[in-house]
């Protein structure tokens, strides 16, 4: 599909937005995030997600804390910081605005 080469960058750009949305609902660890994305257009692997989460943490959008698990070593649970929450709200608004703009054209 020729359009695929144009769709891939869109997905990639939106992945960060989606991860913020998922982390914003409740504190999650990486397999939770992967599970939620699995089967959608945004199916992602750990190799992609860890660098992204590391970047989000450096930008002070997410934070993590260690939680004990009943099976295996402690897990990193990620949650939004206040900055992250503000940015997510801004992204949400912008996304809605863009959607309206797109819908208004070509009709």
């Amino acid at each position: 599909m020729a359009a695929e080469s144009k769709l891939a960058p869109i997905r990639k750009g939106l992945l960060e937005f989606l991860v913020l949305k998922i982390v914003g609902v409740k504190s999650v660890y990486v397999p939770d995030i992967l599970r939620q994305l699995a089967g959608t257009e945004f199916t992602t692997q750990e190799g992609t997600l860890y660098p992204l989460l590391s970047k989000l943490r450096r930008e002070d959008l997410v934070q993590y804390e260690w939680k004990e698990s009943d099976a295996g070593p402690p897990r990193k649970y990620y949650r939004l910081t206040d900055t992250g929450r503000a940015q997510l709200a801004a992204l949400d608004d912008y996304w809605n605005l863009i959607n309206r703009t797109i819908a208004n054209f070509g009709n």
Binding site: P9, P31, T43, T44, Q45, G47, T48, L53
Partner: protein
């Protein structure tokens, strides 16, 4: 003859790898480190990746298996994928289509006997309790002949890959699985349920 295994510390886990798997692991980690050269904080990501590898391999070890081989490591690395720096390179996010391709499998995690009912329930999108009740009724109705059907499915259905964070595998399904894999090896039925001999 004794197989030499290397003990490797992967972040917070310690695992044993045979020579081939150990070499592949080092290659993967070196490749990841290279891909993260431009990242300001590669140590943290590498630690996370190490943990991911350890978790994925641990989930794939059969009961009583202590040494990770390529048979566990390769699918683990495949699932983790190679490192993608955010916003760089071609988007290799092509969704693994196999995830949506339904296959009939038995699911060890959360199984009572072997996970045949769980697998059928997922395949047909039915409630697992309903299937278990039907199975018991069939067992009684057929005067036990259902046992043969169940055993056949146990022997032939491939096992679903473990889901990280999924239900634990109970004692009986683990024992059954170990026994079936032994039987499969004896009978020449490979993991995918095909007869290879």
């Amino acid at each position: 003859m004794q197989r030499i295994a290397t003990t490797v510390r992967l972040n917070r886990s310690v695992l044993q790898f045979d020579d081939a798997a150990h070499a592949r692991l080092e290659q993967y980690l070196a490749e990841s480190a290279r891909l993260l050269e431009a990242d300001p904080d590669p140590q943290e990501i590498l630690a996370d990746l190490e943990q991911a590898v350890a978790d994925q391999c641990t989930h794939r070890l059969r009961p009583e298996q202590t040494v990770v081989t390529l048979a566990e490591l390769e699918p683990a690395l495949e699932e983790i994928g190679s490192v993608q720096a955010p916003g760089s390179g071609p988007a290799s996010m092509a969704p693994p289509r196999e995830a949506t391709l339904r296959t009939l499998q038995q699911i060890s995690q959360g199984a009572v006997i072997s996970g045949v009912c769980l697998g059928l329930a997922r395949y047909f999108r039915l409630d697992v309790t309903l299937l278990r009740v039907i199975s018991v009724l069939l067992l009684l109705g057929t005067g036990g002949a259902m046992v043969l059907v169940y055993l056949g499915l146990m022997l032939l259905l491939p096992y679903a890959p473990p889901e990280p964070g999924g239900a634990p595998i109970r004692w009986l399904p683990a024992k059954n699985r170990a026994f079936m894999e032994f039987l499969r090896a004896k009978l020449g039925v490979d993991r995918a349920g095909k007869i290879t001999a």
